[in-house]
Amino acid sequence: MAFQLEQVKYKDILKIDKFQIPEAKITCIIGESGSGKTTLLRLLNNLISPDEGSIFYKGRNIEDIDPIQLRREVVMLPQNPTVFSGSVKDNLLIGLEFAEKDEVRNDVLSEILRLAQLDKPLSTIASTLSGGEKQRLALARIMLLEPEVILLDEPTSALDEGTEERVIESVVEFAKGKTRTLIMVVHSKSIAQRFADVAVTIQGGGVVAEEGL
C-alpha cells in the first residue's frame, strides 16, 4: 500500500476511519466541491497534519518522515497551478531546483512539455500563458521530477473536454510506464471510470464508496 489512513480527522472538513490507497495504481477521487478532496491530498503531501489519527506512507507514519524528503517523493499539483516568474523553461527548472535535483537538457524539457500536451517554446514568458496552459506547465514540472507518488488536484479543470482527455491519458500512461502511484481528484465520473484502477467517492468529509475498476 502507498498510503493507509487510520481514524484521521482534520478540523470539521475530513473524518476518515480507515482508508487505503494502493501503490503503483491509478486512484481517482471524486466528490462534490467542499467534500474534503483537496484536504485529503494536502494531508498526503504533509502540507497539513491531521488533528487526530495517523497516516502511513509505505508503512511509516508520515509524521516520522522528514517532511521535505516526503514531499520530494509525494509531489502535489494544486488546483490553481503555481506559476513562478520567468520563462516556461525557468518554471520547469525551478521544480528540479526545489527538489535539489540536477538540471536537464533542453530536449528533455521539450519532451516533457509534449507529454503534458503543451505546445509552447521553452522561451515563452510563463505569465502570458492561459489558465489551461499554466495547468499543463505545472503538470509538466511535476512529471519532470518523476516522483514516486503524484497527487493531482483537478489537473484539467481549465481545459476543454478534448484536451482534458489527452492530458489525462498522457499522465496516466506516464505513471503506468514508470510504475508510479497516481492519485488524482477529478470532477467527472466518466474520467474516473475510464482511467482509474480504483475510484473513491468522498462526501461530507468521509469516504463513502470505493470501487476497483
Binding site: N45, N46, L47, I48, S49, E63, P67, I68, Q69, R71, R72, V75, M76, L77, P78, N80, P81, T82, F84, G95, E97, F98, A99, E100, R141, I142, L145
Partner: protein, 262 residues
C-alpha cells in the same frame, strides 16, 4: 578654525511660533480641520525637546559611562515600541521578539565597529559622540525594520499560494520564502541607498549642516557624514537581514508547513 554658534534668544525663538500662527490661519481659511493636530504636535515637540535638551546637557556634562549606555538603551526601547505601533499588520509574540532582537543586535554590532574602529573616540563612551550618532543609527534602522517587517508580513499573506506551491514540490522553507525575504530586504535598504545618491547635491544632510552651523570645517563635516552613512547603511542592512531571515522562520512549523496567523 572653530567658531562659536550664535545662540537664539528667548524672544527670538518666540517669534518662531509666529510662523506656526501663520500656518494655523492658513488652515482655518481653507477650512482644513487639522488645527488641533498641529497644535498638539507643536506643544509635544516643544516639551519633548526642552526636556531632552536639559537631560542631554546633564549627561554631556557628567561623562558617565552608565548614563551614556542608559541613554542608548532607552533609545532602543522607544525605537522598538515605535516599530510595533507603525507596523499595521498583526505580529505574533515570537515575531515581535525577533523585531526587538534584530534591532538590538544589528545596531549594537554596528555601534561597536563605528565607535571603536571607525571613530576611535576616547573615552569610547563619550556621550557627545555616542548619543547623537547612536540615535541616527537607531532611527534609521527603525525605519528600515518597519519597512522590512511590513513587506515580509504582507508578502507571506499575499504569496501564500506561491510558497505552498514550492513546498508541495519539495522545497525547503528557506528556499520557498527566498524571494519574499530578498524583496523585503531590498525594500528596507533602498531608501538608505537612494538618500546617498542625492546627498550633497539635492540636499545637505542634517548632521553635516549642524556641524557646519556650529563652525566645523566643511571637509571635516563631510568625513563625519560619510562615516555615519556607511554605518547607517550597515546598521539598516544588519538589522533588517536578521529580521527577515529569523522572522520568516516564524511562518513555518517543525513539519515545514506554512502557518499564517490573523
Amino acid at each position: 578654525m572653530m567658531m562659536g554658534v550664535v545662540d537664539i534668544g528667548f524672544f527670538n525663538l518666540l517669534a518662531g511660533y509666529a510662523l506656526i500662527l501663520v500656518v494655523l490661519v492658513m488652515l482655518r481659511q481653507r477650512n482644513i480641520k487639522k488645527e488641533t493636530e498641529l497644535l498638539i504636535a507643536v506643544v509635544r515637540m516643544t516639551i519633548q525637546l526642552v526636556l531632552v535638551g536639559y537631560i542631554l546637557d546633564y549627561i554631556l556634562g557628567s561623562q558617565r559611562m552608565w548614563m551614556t549606555l542608559a541613554a542608548v538603551a532607552i533609545m532602543e526601547v522607544f525605537a522598538v515600541q515605535n516599530i510595533y505601533q507603525r507596523v499595521k499588520i498583526d505580529m505574533t509574540p515570537r515575531f515581535r521578539s525577533i523585531v526587538a532582537c534584530s534591532m538590538a543586535f544589528g545596531t549594537i554590532i554596528t555601534m561597536i565597529f563605528f565607535f571603536f574602529v571607525l571613530l576611535s573616540v576616547k573615552p569610547w563612551y563619550s556621550p557627545r559622540y555616542v548619543i547623537p550618532l547612536s540615535g541616527m543609527l537607531i532611527g534609521n534602522s527603525m525605519t528600515g525594520i518597519t519597512l522590512g517587517a511590513e513587506r515580509l508580513l504582507r508578502g507571506f499573506h499575499d504569496k501564500k499560494e506561491l510558497i505552498e506551491g514550492a513546498l508541495m514540490l519539495g522545497a525547503t522553507p528557506e528556499r520557498a520564502s527566498r524571494e519574499i525575504i530578498n524583496e523585503s530586504f531590498t525594500a528596507a535598504i533602498l531608501p538608505t541607498i537612494n538618500s546617498m545618491v542625492g546627498m550633497g547635491i539635492v540636499f545637505l544632510p542634517g548632521m553635516m549642516s549642524g556641524q557646519i552651523l556650529s563652525g566645523v570645517p566643511a571637509v571635516t563635516a563631510i568625513k563625519y557624514q560619510m562615516a555615519i552613512m556607511f554605518a547607517i547603511l550597515a546598521s539598516v542592512a544588519f538589522t533588517v537581514f536578521i529580521l527577515v531571515v529569523w522572522g520568516s522562520k516564524t511562518f513555518f512549523n517543525d513539519r515545514a508547513q506554512l502557518v499564517l496567523y490573523g
